[in-house]
């Protein structure tokens, strides 16, 4: 389950604060859409809801930052970047090991040429 490519619809059933929490938990780049219509693509690494002015912190796609954006300036966050935690490196490793074992067993069964 990944949020990759999701464009949230903020409204009665989904608040901006909830979307920000999901973006904070997401291990990929997102695109922050500001209320003035501008967009910043990057990695949201922090959010503080309990500050007097709630704020997110991010590094942009070039790695510049930290950039602080108050919640009040955010309209939405799109999950545009690849989810780096959705990889299957371990599964791929297991499958390759199983394949190698099967090949070795087959070679032993066939015997020397």
């Amino acid at each position: 389950m990944t949020l990759q490519d999701w464009v949230p619809e903020i409204g009665e059933f989904l608040t901006l604060a909830e979307v920000i929490d999901l973006a904070f938990d997401y291990r990929g780049n997102t695109t922050v859409v500001k209320v003035d219509g501008t967009e910043i693509e990057g990695y949201v690494f922090n959010r503080n809801r309990e500050a007097s002015e709630p704020v997110i912190e991010m590094f942009d796609a070039a790695g510049t930052g930290p950039i602080r954006i108050p919640y009040s300036e955010i309209r939405n966050i799109k999950f545009t970047g690849r989810d780096m935690a959705a990889g299957n490196s371990w599964q791929a490793w297991l499958e390759r090991k199983e394949r190698e074992k099967a090949e070795k067993a087959a070679r032993l069964e066939t015997g020397p040429a």
Binding site: F24, R27, F45, F59, G63, N88, S89, W90
Partner: protein, 340 residues
């Protein structure tokens, strides 16, 4: 136990000073992550899954040293990512030694031989090369998802020992680990001549690729009891014996999440090395504004229920040593006799 006397004394004096000054929460080990980049993608690791621009970044030397000075802990552990990929690792370790900090450089050792040959690191009583070894060849290569890593690590350990470095191993255990194979592994590591071994159950990182093999609490007790009961005399563990007894189910401890504070590219991580619930700009802010009551087993936080990891509980064990005569006596007895 194998922690050198000078290190034991430094830690003991530090803890007693905190207690005498009435400081309720104090750090014991700073977890300093200068970068997230790594040359392995281990199945149980939840530390390195970031977009490219984050993996390319690293802390400056000045940021690292500022964090060390702010925190004040007597021990600095440098995990990552792979710390030997940090361009200023030599300068960082030198600066820590000058500050008389005990350093654990936690490495998978793939680059170690090369760095030793380049003279990047110097042997010191303050520096321990802590080599990631998750078991014998088959188990370790499977845990790190690459063949040949165990052999390269063994080669690097031998080279480091030959050059006079302190070398320890750090081992994370997962569901399915065989107690008998682990006992063979302890023999193997001690046979290489390492100073001591560090053990911990893995933490179930939500972001780790392998979610099926993290240990639950009861299984942790069972595994560590089978592994460590009748411990062989030549096994040396570079950690608190009370922590190992806790893993075996002989003691019940509560987590000390502030014991191993973590500093990385994002700031001071709340609340601990394992959970990422936000970042503070300064160490003081971390200590004063984190809602500590929300963490640990008693809090009911489900993310903490099965956690028995060293970064939360070893600080509790060390604190226990200096909180009562019983704790002190039990530590002394286990240290002298080697019985857990």
């Amino acid at each position: 136990m194998s922690v050198p006397l000078s290190q034991m004394w430094t830690v003991a004096a530090y803890v007693l000073k905190q207690k005498l000054s009435g400081r309720e929460r104090y750090p014991l080990v700073l977890m300093l992550e200068p970068l997230f980049r790594c040359n392995l993608t281990c199945a149980g690791c939840g530390k390195i899954q970031y977009p490219a621009q984050i993996l390319k970044k690293h802390l400056t030397l000045e940021q690292c040293l500022k964090a060390v000075d702010e925190c004040g802990a007597p021990v600095v552990s440098i995990p990552g990512g792979e710390p030997l990929m940090y361009p200023q690792i030599g300068e960082l370790v030198d600066a820590l030694v000058k500050r008389r900090k005990y350093v654990y450089l936690c490495t998978n050792a793939l680059l170690l031989k090369e760095k030793l040959e380049q003279g990047v690191l110097e042997p010191s009583k303050y520096v321990s090369l802590s080599i990631h070894m998750d078991g014998l060849r088959e188990e370790h290569d499977e845990a790190v998802c690459r063949d040949g890593v165990y052999d390269r690590a063994v080669e690097a350990i031998k080279e480091a020992l030959r050059r006079g470095f302190r070398v320890t191993t750090n081992t994370t255990l997962f569901e399915g680990a065989s107690p008998l194979r682990m006992r063979e592994f302890f023999d193997e590591m001690m046979g290489l001549g390492v100073e001591g071994m560090m053990l911990s159950p893995g933490y179930s990182y939500a972001k780790a690729p392998d979610q099926e093999h993290f240990l639950r609490r009861g299984r942790t007790h069972d595994l560590f009891s089978k592994m460590l009961s009748n411990a062989r005399k030549h096994w040396k563990f570079n950690q608190s014996p009370l922590f190992l007894q806790f893993l075996m189910g002989k003691r019940d401890y509560e987590c000390t999440p502030w014991g191993n504070p973590t500093f990385n590219l994002f700031g001071w991580q709340r609340p601990c090395y394992l959970l990422q619930e936000g970042y503070a700009e300064s160490f003081q802010e971390l200590m004063e504004s984190t809602r500590w009551e929300r963490y640990g087993r008693k809090s009911g936080n489900e993310k903490c229920q099965d956690c028995m990891v060293h970064c939360g509980y070893e600080a509790t064990a060390v604190d226990d040593t200096f909180s009562s005569w019983k704790g002190f006596r039990d530590t002394l007895v286990a240290t002298i006799t080697g019985k857990l």
